[in-house]
Amino acid sequence: MRMSQGGLIDRGRILNFSFNGRSLQGHPGDSLASALIANGIRLVGRSFKYHRPRGIFSAGSEEPNAMLRIGPEATAEPNTRATQTPLYEGLQARSQNHWPSLEVDLLSINNLLSPVFSTGFYNKTFISPRKLWPVYEKMLRHIAGHGRAPGQRGPEQFEQCFSHCDVLIIGAGPAGLAAARRLASTDLRVVVVDECERPGGWLLKENTSIDGSNGTDWCDRITRQLSAAENVTLLYLTTAFGFYDHNLVALAERLPSGAATFSQRLHRVRAKQVVFATGSIERPLVFANNDLPGIMLAGAARAYLNQFAAKVGQRMVIYTNNDSAYRSAVDLSDAGVDVAAVADLREAPHASAIARLSERGISLYKGARIAAHGRRHLRSVRLCHSGSEQALQLDCDTLAVSGGWTPTLHLHSQSGGAVRFEPQLDTFVPGTPKQATVAAGAVNGLHGLQECLDDGERAAVTIAKRFGLVTGAPNGRSIDPSNESVENQLLFDTDCPAVKVVNQHKARRRGIGASGKYFVDFQNDVTISDVRQAYRESYVSVEHLKRYTTLGMGTDQGKTSNLNGLDLLAGLREEPVPKVGITTFRPPYTPVTLGLLAGQSQGAHLSPTRKTVLHAKHEQAGAVFDFNGLWLRPRCYLRHGETEETAIGREIRAVREGVGMTDVSTLGKFEIQGADCAEFLNRVYIGNMDTLVSGRCRYGLMLSDDGMVLDDGTVTRLDQQHYFITTSTGHAEHVLQHLEFLLDVLWPELDVNLVAVTEQWAGVAVAGPASRKLLRQLAGSDTEVLESVPYMGYASIELEESGQCIKARLLRISYSGEMAYEIYVPAHSATHVWELILNHGPGFDLQPYGMDAMDVLRIEKGFIVVGADADGRTTPMDIGMGAMLSKTKHFIGRHALTRPAMHESGRFQLVGLQAVNYQDGLFEGAQLTRLAGDRGYGASIGHISSAGFSPLLQRHVALALVRDGRKHLGQTIYSQDPARACPTPVGVTIVEPCAYDPEGARLRR
């Protein structure tokens, strides 16, 4: 029911929304929960396990029951708290977790089967017979879980940004606003965030007065001042959900984005100081059937009235162990709700609290214990109290409960801050902070408005001091000390301490009909008997309790249940609560969508894509692309009507019989200059590099300091003190770091200047018997130079075309085993060179070839790829390069190679493989075994590290790492890959790695 006046809603405008297909109306300023309450909707969902009917329990992010699907059916977001959803025009809401309907839910049979579904049943049931597991699994998938993921991607946009500020104030309640106001007068960059749609915190939910005006007016005034301040940023509907290392706070901001969908923005804020003004959450009481619709937190009952002008019911009883709930009696009674009684667990409530009741003719029962009754919703409450032997029954439709207030410690705790148990408040408060933070307000266990305002000011002064600043009172006005009034006090002095929650359920229950379930955790349907059962089964630590019963593991993170569960456990263990301890708080504070965390990094954009300068040329030539690390490279070039297999075969033939060209720009490239270059190269590579003369290049293998192959590449001596180094594409970054470490950290005395030039030089390899003839057409006046370049030689030449020339570095090296030249040109000229070569191509049947062809060509020659054939466990000896190891100088990895295990038998060695039946396929990753047959396979003796199909040899070629492979040349073993391509074992013969032109005659022509 909506009150005719009051509340912070805009009555001038109407918003239409629907709940379970029913059209309803609300106002701007409403939350979905308040609009439902104003429309008299009491049943909003079914609980997780038992499918019990549930109603709205709270007015904040601690809500455990009102989890709805919001949005159009195909893209609806499940498990959204109605209390945290601002109402908008056209909002569609649906309840969850019931079948066939919310009102008639057949799955509530679970309630009757609750002995089966008691705690820990996950671990005890559905185990045997094992054959039935697929049946169980199907069934469980239907009944387990809460909510249903949408089938389609919604229109929501996710953005991210990085922010920096001096002070981040989390929470715009009285303490947060007081702190912000104080800090606004300094030059500090201040950001204030609040998870609600408007600032004010509990000022919006209570009747208070500050500086002569009511709390909400004060709040509006302060907020206007803060908005006008240049150094202050205010963010609403923004939840600080995680506190990370070094004062990094993650914020999830929800933004209205035109049509009825919210977009979200993730802020990663690095704040020099953080103020936790995060407030506190009301704690429920535990009693029989305490989950019926109509039972809610006392603070929420008055919040709906004060903030939203929505009456939560017609006839109310209040059950409490502290003074704050009396405010509900006052506020609701003044609004016309029939408040039948206040049942107080205590024997002696505060006098001023009692006075306010008698003013309104509300009965008070002291020393009370209650049980709730009703089926689909609350109908009555039966209570016993210390004033009489008789139990009595009160008919009501609403029960407002309060068990005290629990400071919202989550972010403080995530930051590593200690927590301290405050016995007078029967709860934990923030202790010593670990990072640059300070806590202020209700989170420190303060319950008076004046105290909170003062605490906020105090925090601001502390923070300012940390910056070496002094804050003056803003605008010369300070907060009026006459704010001390009964109105502004949630709890009074501690002469009458709140009674411990755990006691109240154990008391004698004289005729109040106290059978039924006593819920501790509403969201996960955990009851007192579950906690007791866990204790009986020896799950006595708080961490075990949590995981065995799932108490506190729901999406509400136990905001209304952790402390009660802890209390219970402490009682069972007969130890004080602080001894039992609390479980770890982990981000996020409230659920966060994965889309928000992913931002734009989704799909193809999970990592950056690197393209060579020739990418457009490859596209023009019909390339099929694939990723090699971050690089996008052509696998092959498809001509019209071709399959990939035919294309690759064609390209391989072109290289072996004519001429092919390929883009080698992705190779890592470095230039080193200086007097000590030769010495440096000697230390890094296993071979003697100091004997390399100008104009020559050499294959180089480098090891890491454990003796394993790190990378292979080439070293070219351009000049006396100038070298050009190439590495493999995949290891370029790693090798760069390795070399930088050596030069900058270990050997700063060496005169070697290292510069990465991977992107400066693009490279095209022209390979095949006709390669030199083709290049002659381009060399112009440098033809003689071209002719004189020996195998493994280098020359600087100029390529010419119609009056224009391009300077190039020409290296005569081959990865394909044919006569080949690698032409390196400055990157911005690469496309011209590609065109140039292509233009002269037709006469030689020139064809571009891609990675797949390149791979087969090098496998035919037995050339390794570091990462595949040398996998970090491989020494140079293992891959047949032991002869390259220098005997005259020290190099990285030399000591490690002296270890006995490096020379023992049983090492995996590089060999070639040939299928016994030529048609059989060989596949990378296949395991190799000695045996195959009914007796089994025995242990794996290695695997195929590289494989491909050779059109020239008309069979598959492969390289493999086989135990003692070189001792077993000619023997037959078996290859199999049951999970993928090769389910039955294939016989293979161990052969030399090089299957084609082993003397290398074709290279040196």
């Binding site: 953005e159 060579t612 200059q673 005169d751 030039v757 400066q760 010419e800 911005h828």
Partner: protein
């Protein structure tokens, strides 16, 4: 024989936030200058050759009105930006010069909301004194390495390696 002029052109996507423009600059030279020896000696020799002062503190740059710019981006490492192509540095004793003119693509992003635009991907505090005009920083935008030069409060030059340039374009422009 004329030297072939060429450059990479990245098509600019027109989906930036309103008020922000992104342009690519071509026709400049970029030379890498470093030493393993004495820093002061190297800077003196370079200053003499360029006839302008050289920044010695990393993450600072000095620009001349004629378009020359020297960026110090690491200990004893500089990038010399000349506003014309094919510009050369004379060899300097004890130092190494490497031409990197072809290795980068240069963008200039500017406009009043440019900081907000960059904050989506830039982890630096652009309002801090480290990012005051004249400052430069090597950093990364969504895993793409970028050398950022602060022209003034509303204008930033971004040097990015060729292979990442298209992706940087995508990362900088708003997807709507």
């Amino acid at each position: 024989m004329t030297k072939l002029q060429s450059s990479i052109q990245i098509p600019v996507r027109n989906t930036l936030a309103p008020g922000v423009t992104l342009r690519q600059y071509t026709g400049y030279s970029l030379l890498h200058f470093m030493t393993r020896g004495d820093r002061d000696k190297a800077t003196e020799l370079l200053a003499r050759q360029l006839n302008m002062s050289i920044p010695t503190c990393p993450n600072t740059a000095i620009s001349h009105t004629n378009g020359m710019r020297v960026l110090c981006f690491g200990d004893k490492r500089w990038l010399v930006h000349a506003p014309v192509p094919d510009w050369k540095l004379e060899p300097v004793e004890g130092c190494a010069v490497t031409d990197l003119s072809d290795s980068r693509v240069l963008f200039c992003i500017k406009g009043e909301p440019v900081r907000e635009q960059l904050a989506r991907v830039c982890t630096l505090d652009l309002a801090s004194s480290a990012c005051a005009p004249g400052g430069c920083a090597l950093t990364q935008f969504e895993q793409i390495p970028v050398l950022l030069h602060v022209n003034d409060n509303c204008s930033y030059d971004l040097y990015v390696e060729n292979s990442f340039s298209e992706d940087l374009m995508r990362v900088l422009t708003v997807k709507k």
